[in-house]
Structure formats: structure tokens, C-alpha cells
């Protein structure tokens, strides 16, 4: 890979969970990744946090190659905060905007930690990120991390296929889904990892768990890969991925369905 198709410094952030995650990423390396846990306060801290981090590293607007953002799913209000900031910055600075799945960022960050543990690397692994969506539901997805990816650089893992998606982001009932995944993983002979907001769910049988907070450093390599593939997003049209309609829309649809024989 030569220097010319490097996207410059990526400014990456995510506010889909209780963690305000901000990072700067350049040339396959995380320059800094900060996490703060001021729940429900992301709208207050996000812009100062970005500004301070750029200043600490002497990164100016000319140096920014793209804005990368977690587009959800997660807290509706939370996701909108990062997406509003990302759209506005990308538009104001005329930079490419790259949205990544917040669940994928959560999973990838967790896997980067998992792969450091010797015992966890011998088999391929299914990495299943969880965010608590209440009432026994989770936002979740499934990613396959091959054992071959254990020693690769973080961008090579993503680019070379050692990291891939197996299930789309969606909202699911954790009890049914976790049992189903455990049975499938056993049959496939892979290690099953539930990562992220695992704490609320006591019995995740047949699986490893890693309680893990969103790591902004995981967004950079995912976004850089999308940029390399020419998959930047349209700034104006870009919107969060909520994975579901609003309650009002659901009720309205149900009402219309009842009226239509």
C-alpha cells in the first residue's frame, strides 16, 4: 500500500452507548482513543473532547482526511449526537464522511483485546456484540474473526478478510438468540464470544463473555477500509441506523392493518 491512497488523519467518534468514544487514527495507527463515561451527557462533552484531542496532537482541519462515526444502533438520542456532529463537521470542512456500525466497532474493539489472550486464539471465533435494548432485548450482530487474523496489523485484519460480518445489526430477544448461537457455535466448532454490555444478561451459556466499553480506536481501521473501497457516505442523506421504527409508527401501522380487511 503506498502513501497516496492513505486518507490522512481520521477523526472518529461514537455516542451510541453510555461511553463517549473519540479517537484520531492515522497510517494504521491509533494516535489516541479516549473514553468517557458521563452517561447522558454526550451532547455536552463531544465537541470540546474533539477539539481538545485535535489540539493535543496538533491536528488541524487541513490534516483531517475524513470524519468517521458510529451510526448506531444504540440509544436513539445518543446516536443522533454523534451523527449530527459528524454530518456538520464533514459538511463544514468538505471532508468525506464514513459511517460504521456501532455494533461492529464495539465487536472489533473487543476482539482486538481478545486476540491478545493466548488461549483465545486457537479457533476461529464468533464475536457477538451486545447493547442492552431493555425488556430482554439487545441490539446485536455477529462477526467472524478467523484465527489467521491473530498476528495481522489492524488494517490488514479488516482488509484481508480475517474479520467479516455474519449477521446484520438488529434488535433481538437475548434469551432465544443466545441459546441458538451457542448451539450453532458448538456445531461449527468455533469459540463464541458475547462482548459489550453483557452484564445485564446472567446466563449466556456455552459462550465466553467480555464486558467491554466502546473503544473509539476500533472505528478508525473499519472506516479506513470503507474509504479504501470508495464507500464514503453522502453527507446530506446520511442518517443513523436505529434498526427499528418509532413506537408511534408501529402503532399507526398496526391500526391501519386492523382497518384493512
Amino acid at each position: 500500500m503506498n502513501g497516496s491512497n492513505r486518507p490522512g488523519t481520521l477523526l472518529a467518534f461514537d455516542t451510541s452507548t453510555g461511553t463517549l468514544a473519540v479517537s484520531l487514527y492515522r497510517d494504521g495507527r491509533v494516535m489516541e482513543a479516549s473514553q468517557s463515561f458521563a452517561e447522558r451527557n454526550h451532547s455536552v462533552r463531544i465537541v470540546p473532547e474533539i477539539q481538545e484531542m485535535m489540539r493535543r496532537h496538533g491536528v488541524h482541519r487541513e490534516d483531517v482526511g475524513a470524519i468517521a462515526v458510529g451510526r448506531g444502533p444504540g440509544s436513539y438520542t445518543g446516536v443522533r449526537i454523534a451523527v449530527s456532529a459528524a454530518k456538520t463537521l464533514a459538511w463544514a470542512w468538505d471532508k468525506p464522511l464514513v459511517g460504521v456500525s456501532s455494533l461492529e466497532a464495539l465487536a472489533f474493539g473487543a476482539w482486538l483485546k481478545i486476540r491478545q489472550e493466548a488461549s483465545a486464539q486457537e479457533r476461529d471465533a464468533w464475536i457477538v456484540p451486545l447493547m442492552d435494548a431493555r425488556r430482554g432485548q439487545v441490539y446485536g450482530a455477529r462477526f467472524v474473526a478467523s484465527a489467521a487474523g491473530r498476528d495481522l496489523g489492524i488494517e490488514e485484519v479488516v482488509a484481508g478478510g480475517a474479520w467479516s460480518r455474519a449477521d446484520e445489526d438488529g434488535i433481538r430477544l437475548i434469551a432465544d438468540w443466545s441459546a441458538e448461537l451457542a448451539a450453532q457455535a458448538k456445531e461449527a466448532g468455533v469459540a463464541l464470544w458475547f462482548v459489550g454490555e453483557t452484564a445485564p444478561f446472567a446466563a449466556l451459556d456455552g459462550a465466553f463473555t467480555l464486558p467491554f466499553a466502546m473503544d473509539g480506536g476500533a472505528i478508525g481501521p473499519l472506516a479506513a477500509d470503507r474509504l479504501r473501497r470508495g464507500r464514503a457516505d453522502d453527507v446530506h442523506a446520511f442518517a443513523p441506523n436505529y434498526t427499528q421504527m418509532t413506537e408511534a409508527e408501529v402503532k399507526l401501522q398496526a391500526g391501519e392493518a386492523r382497518r384493512t380487511p
Binding site: V47, Q51, Y76, S84, T88, A92, T246
Partner: protein
């Protein structure tokens, strides 16, 4: 750059309009783009906060872009970014607030958090000069207030609704008469169609009070509709709408005139979404003429929620160098009185 030609960009997303304005010198509106979500919310019979927030985030950069195109200025020309800090729907406010903070950082210009009602009041400064002391009658979907301005930028609420806002009462009555949301304009129009009037109560409250109450009136309208239904009579909708509108306008304008006299103000300002109501404008105009009290009423486009009015109010803070840090907190219940300017060091 002087204070007369500085460029302020303002963002308003407190309810169901996404609006961006670019205003020169606090008064000259170069662009005031308003993207209304009314069509989206109509099928739900009112504003759905989560849907409003979703729409704002989908629309915000398009509206920013359009404002620059209309104004014919460049992003680098902007000297300050103002935004509605509150009150309003918190999820909706946050989209504008975060966009404004991001823009202020991106352009390296000051941020000015602005009170939505100060915006409605200062919409009047876009069409004329405010003479102090002044009294503002704020009538909208979420607010019914009498606000005394003893001097520039200093707000004191002397009367407020104890239950429904005027606009809210209009919408509820309109819904009971099966008009689509928002129903206020239908009632206004219907009331003009007839000379007949169903006599409805007026809530004057205590003799010295400038507060309002509209829940009793709303109940009286619903009772009248029920009464007609029970008796199998055809409802005279026009007469009922006229009676309702007469009661609202009578109470609101009488109290405003009484307060104007009590506080010895030199000018009355009508503002807020319901200030577009024809009956309200006409009555207040004739009362003010009789009392020889100067009256300002913005055109309808500056009465409903818009960002130009936010720029007009933010100008108060700009001229005092009273900027807001980027860790500003949006406030669903932000206080108007506390938002008042705090000193007299004004550059004019």
C-alpha cells in the same frame, strides 16, 4: 468588520421545524430557510418527539447548505453561530445544539446559546425598533406569556398560562371538530365565516392576575359538541369556532392591554405562532389604536418557529461579547428571565 455588518448563522430545531438563517448585523435577513415537518406529523395528530428528532438529523446539513446558497455568502464569512438552547423538545433541541457546536468549532467562531421565546419576541426587531419599556404578548403552541422588557434584553414574565397554551387549546378544539393537525388556522378561518356565535366562558382568574387559563374553555367546547350529539342536533361548527376564538382573543388581548397600562409600557409586541391568527391581529391592532399604543406584529413567516428570530435575539449577546462555551447544556425548560443580558456595556 463592525457590529453593523457581522454575519450570524442561526439554527432552530426546538420542535418540528428545522430552520437555518443567516442574518447580517442582527437585523438584515439574508436567508431564513424553514423546513417544516407538519406533513410528517399530521398523520399522528400532533408532533411525535422521536420522529421530529429523526427528521432534524436527516435534514440539518441540507438546510445549512440551502441557507448559504440563498444568502450568497461563504462558510468562512460567518462570524458567530447562534442556536436555540431551549426550551423545547429535548431530543429535537439536541440535534441543533450539537450541529451548532460542531459548526462553531469547525469555523472557529463563537457560539451563542439562545432562548426560544427571546427569539419570538426579538422577531419584532427584524421589522422595527423596540421601544422600552415594552410588553410582549407571546402566543404559540407551547407558550402563552406576557413578558415585560424594562430595557433591552431584560425579560420579566408578568403573566403565563396555568394550563394549556393558546395554540394547544386551538389544536385540541380543532381535533374535536375533526380538523387535521395543526388545526389553529382552520378555526381562525371557520370563525370568519359566520356572524353567529356560541357564547362561551372567559377565565379572568383573580382581578389583579395577568395569568391565563384555557382548559375550562376547551372543556366548554367539548361539552357543547357532546350536547349537540346527544340531542341529535346538527352542530353549528362556525358559531362554535367563532365563540371559542372570541373568548380566547377577548381574554388574551384584554389582559395584554391591562398589563400594558399597569406597567406603563411604550410599545406592545405580538409574537409566536398564534400571532399569525387573523382575529388576534385585528383585535389587538384596533385596541392599540384606540389606546394610542404603538404595536409591532411580525409577518406570519417570522411568527412561526424560524432561525432568523434566533439570530435577532442572539444579537443581544453578540454586542455584549457574551458567548457560550462549547460544553453548553441544552435545556428543555430553559428560563427566559435567567437568559436576560446582565450588563449595560453595549456597543451600538
Amino acid at each position: 468588520m463592525t457590529d453593523k455588518d457581522y454575519l450570524m448563522l442561526a439554527i432552530e430545531t426546538s420542535c418540528d421545524e428545522t430552520s437555518v438563517a443567516i442574518v447580517r448585523g442582527g437585523r438584515e435577513v439574508l436567508a431564513n430557510v424553514v423546513s417544516s415537518q407538519i406533513e410528517t406529523h399530521r398523520r399522528f395528530g400532533g408532533v411525535v418527539p422521536e420522529i421530529a428528532s429523526r427528521k432534524h438529523v436527516e435534514t440539518i446539513t441540507r438546510i445549512l447548505q440551502e441557507a448559504f446558497e440563498q444568502a450568497g455568502v461563504r462558510r468562512g464569512d460567518i462570524d458567530a453561530v447562534a442556536v436555540t438552547q431551549g426550551p423545547g423538545l429535548i431530543g429535537a433541541l439536541l440535534v441543533g445544539v450539537v450541529a451548532a457546536k460542531s459548526l462553531a468549532m469547525a469555523l472557529d467562531v463563537p457560539l451563542i446559546g439562545t432562548h426560544h421565546i427571546a427569539g419570538h419576541i426579538y422577531a419584532n426587531r427584524l421589522i422595527g425598533d423596540i421601544v422600552f419599556p415594552a410588553l410582549a404578548l407571546v402566543v404559540s403552541g407551547g407558550h402563552t406569556e406576557l413578558v415585560l422588557l424594562e430595557r433591552e434584553g431584560v425579560f420579566r414574565i408578568v403573566g403565563r398560562t396555568r394550563d394549556d397554551a393558546v395554540g394547544e387549546a386551538y389544536d385540541k378544539v380543532a381535533r374535536a371538530l375533526s380538523f387535521p393537525y395543526p388545526g389553529g388556522p382552520y378555526i381562525d378561518k371557520l370563525a370568519q365565516t359566520t356572524e353567529e356565535e356560541v357564547e362561551l366562558p372567559r377565565a379572568w382568574l383573580e382581578p389583579d392576575s395577568f395569568d391565563f387559563s384555557f382548559s375550562g374553555l376547551k372543556s366548554a367546547v367539548l361539552a357543547e359538541i357532546n350536547r349537540a350529539k346527544m340531542k341529535g342536533e346538527a352542530l353549528n361548527q362556525g358559531a362554535l369556532a367563532r365563540g371559542f376564538q372570541a373568548s380566547v382573543i377577548d381574554v388574551v388581548t384584554t389582559k395584554a392591554m391591562r398589563a400594558a397600562q399597569a406597567f406603563g409600557v411604550r410599545q406592545l409586541l405580538l409574537c409566536g405562532g398564534v400571532a399569525a391568527n387573523r382575529g388576534m391581529r385585528e383585535r389587538l391592532t384596533s385596541l392599540c389604536e384606540a389606546a394610542r399604543l404603538p404595536l409591532l406584529i411580525p409577518p406570519p413567516s417570522l411568527c412561526s418557529d424560524n432561525a432568523a428570530m434566533i439570530a435577532a435575539a442572539a444579537d443581544l449577546k453578540w454586542r455584549r461579547g457574551a458567548f457560550t462555551p462549547l460544553d453548553m447544556v441544552a435545556g428543555a425548560q430553559l428560563s427566559l428571565e435567567e437568559w436576560s443580558v446582565s450588563d449595560d456595556s453595549v456597543s451600538s
